[in-house]
Symmetry: C2
Subunit: 471 residues, 2 copies
């Protein structure tokens, strides 16, 4: 490890490991440095344990449909929260083990320790100075917790600690109604915990479409209390924690802080890179090369504060891994934006968000699922899907939804948007019966009806044939 390495990767999370995969293909002169436990945020405290909890919670909640289906005995069901959490940890350990396996054979090229940059080509770790032609920064992120909360002497959880609990309190507040807050508040509530949600703004789950936002709020309020628009303040009281927000006040036994995550860049030494840093201490990063300014330094994953989403982190690590082993960085096209919140119904945002639309050039299509055939059969007939299309071209631009099977329809829509497909083109594909995608088709048809020169048929003619020929 003496001399100058080709690449140093700081951080062995999802982005760092994706970088490692590419680096290893091209050079053996590298090290990967990790601070704290090995294993990714995703596997340890993020996507995987949260979804394990959600699956159990949704399954338990589903008992509310049993009587209507003709299934007897739902009242006898109970959620054994310690058992639920044990399973979450069992699965998590398995997923963590498989991510840790990636670095097991690296020997002393895998370093446990906290790296401090000393410049764009060197850093210090465990008292040793390492030099490299390329550095990939993938230090991840940490949950935000207001400092005073830690001195209250009461149970304040984050997703770092929630899944570690043997049991959970009977009364909980979830503070922060972004994607993680919504997922966890609904899951905890569905497991039988008395949950109150607090969100600082009137929008939740990352939604920007006011109608989708309103439907989502209404649906969630059927399950738990939701206080929006005021900042939550915590006070320790005798029998727990008082959470106050505006006029609302509730006493709970524990609080889950879901106020977002901040990139792990404090004391990293970014100021030694010699490039300007913004107000948050972040250098300029090219999202197509992951390069910091024009340095041989790359910054990827949650650390760069761009999109704390696993598949984007993996892409960024992948791009940096390739570019750190090339003389001239390649510029990569990023994917169509896709964000999914694993609520039920699932919240998803695809492509262009509502707030980014140019009203004058956009058509909006919509469907609600209250009366949709298939979802009525399964008792999941609730939610809304809104589609955005370009008026002139009929091209689909984006979608926001809170819809049953939303996570699946979001992938269909992402493919459509990626390929710049138009509403008439999309209506030519098959929609089976009875499926939830028939709701999606309804929304497409409401767009088609607004398009100029619409054909009277969803089907294309074999002949060189246009709508006029039909009349």
């Amino acid at each position: 490890m003496s001399g100058i390495l080709d690449v140093i990767i700081i951080g062995a999370g999802s982005a760092g490991l994706a970088a490692l995969r590419e680096v290893r293909k091209r050079t053996q002169s590298f090290v990967i440095i990790n601070d704290g436990p090995w294993g990714t945020i995703c596997a340890r405290v993020g996507c995987m344990p949260s979804k394990a909890l959600i699956e159990a919670a949704n399954t338990f909640y589903h008992r509310n449909t049993f009587t209507e289906f003709g299934i007897r005995g739902a009242d006898s069901l109970t959620s054994d929260i310690p058992a639920v959490l044990r399973r979450v940890r069992r699965l998590r350990d398995d997923f963590v083990a498989s991510t840790v396996k990636t670095t097991e054979d690296l020997g002393d090229r895998a370093i446990s320790g906290r790296a401090h940059l000393l410049g764009p080509d060197r850093l210090e770790v465990n008292g040793q100075i390492l030099c490299a032609r390329n550095i990939i920064i993938a230090t991840g992120s940490s949950p935000i917790v207001p400092k005073p909360w830690n001195t209250l002497g009461k149970p304040i959880f984050t997703t770092d600690t929630l899944f570690e609990q043997e049991n959970l309190p009977a009364r909980m507040a979830v503070v922060g109604m972004g994607p993680i807050g919504i997922e966890m508040a609904q899951a905890l509530s569905r497991l039988g915990i008395d949950v109150v949600g607090f969100g600082g703004s009137q929008t939740i789950a990352g939604l920007t479409d006011p109608q989708v936002n309103a439907v989502t709020i209404n649906l969630l309020r059927r399950e738990f209390s939701l206080n929006l628009g005021e900042k939550a303040e915590l006070t320790a009281v005798n029998d727990g924690l008082r959470v106050q927000a505006g006029d609302s006040e509730v006493v709970v036994d524990g609080v889950l802080a879901a106020l977002g995550r901040h990139p792990n860049i404090s004391n990293l030494g970014l100021e030694t890179l010699g490039v300007p840093l913004d107000d948050h201490g972040m250098p300029p990063i090219n999202p197509n090369t992951m390069q910091v300014d024009d340095l041989r330094v790359f910054m990827v994953g949650d650390a760069n504060d761009q999109a704390a989403i696993l598949h984007e982190a993996a892409d960024e690590g992948h791009i940096a891994g390739i570019n750190a082993t090339r003389s001239v960085p390649v510029c990569f096209t990023r994917r169509v934006p896709l964000a999914i919140v694993f609520a039920d119904p699932s919240v998803a945002i695809v492509g262009c968000r509502y707030q980014e639309l140019d009203d004058a050039k956009t058509l909006i299509g919509e469907v609600t699922f209250d009366n949709q055939g298939r979802s009525r059969l399964g008792q999941y007939n609730k939610g809304i899907l809104r589609l955005y299309a370009e008026t002139d071209s009929g091209r689909l631009l984006g979608a926001e939804m809170c819809a049953p099977a939303g996570e699946h329809m979001a992938h269909w829509l992402a493919l459509a948007i990626d390929r710049s497909l138009t509403v008439p083109e999309l209506l030519r594909t098959p929609f089976y019966h009875p499926v939830l995608e028939e709701g999606l088709r309804t929304a497409l048809r409401t767009l088609a009806a607004q398009l100029p020169a619409g054909s009277e048929s969803d089907l294309a003619s074999c002949d060189a044939f246009n709508s006029e020929a039909l009349d």
Copy 2:
């Protein structure tokens, strides 16, 4: 109604009503004739009641995951089959009512009776002769039941009668393991009925891919007995019905005949059209115009024995409705083939089927779901998805699967196939984490690895950039 009508539609099912919708837009000189109860096969005895039963059955079966999730009390759950069936009928009545509403305002242009063709421009109904410039035949189909079975004096059900029962027998055989047989056998078994399935061939559910077929059979055999490859013979015995197939023999209390459906064309008078009929008594029908030979007669939906699938029936009615009101029929492009069997995991066939492939020009990609992340979290980690792509172009051709969320992935794949997209193009779209579509991505990557000149990245370069540039 004297004189010559513009259009007569025979049959008010899904195809006939789709035709009616188009005809009404263009002329008021029409009648629609329906034999038997009004309301479509889909709503009365097909898609809708079957899916209502399946949703209840799957919900009840899901109790087997409860202990592992940490939910206690699953043993107390029972399925109240009479209540399950009452709900099926309540929903069915609702769906039937909404299809019947379509014809309510037609007055004497809606005729109840059995039509007999007298030629390509006339027919008899209720003793009256009606003449029309165009006739649309949409007489639907009926379940096939071997004649001797009806004389056994024992409970032989079809989907026409199954949902009408107050209760169901404790031991049932389902004879016929096509799509309907598989759906119903699994649902009845999941509701707690002791089910034995009998299929005459070694393939089930319409599958043609031997590996997908094998996985599907293995999964179903964990739930109920499945006898394949021999014809089932029924005999009445003291305590029920003996079903024999090869060496297998079982005594049950009732049999569901799921041997397919035959088109309702006997005694319809197709021989009066003056065009050649095939061995099944079927005239030649153009699937792009729905026209019978060069007559002003159109034959649509199950009646033409082409694809007894609702969305195809609706398309056919739509095409015939347009063409029956035009001097020159328009030729329409039909949709990418899509068939879904609502088993769990869902079976789906999209685009080109395995048996239609040219081995020499086809690559096969595959994923199994046994170890797939998301599906492990939810305890639905079973199944297989196989993709077919054209070797030279990398274009996706088709897929067969028995996979969790298969019905959703099938729609994604249908869009991809419809747009002639290649595997590398498909890999550029986002796949969120953790979702079942990541399994689909794995299958795409196994295809990509077989393609010549594959890029080292799923991502596209912004520059005019190819895989060579990466090395």
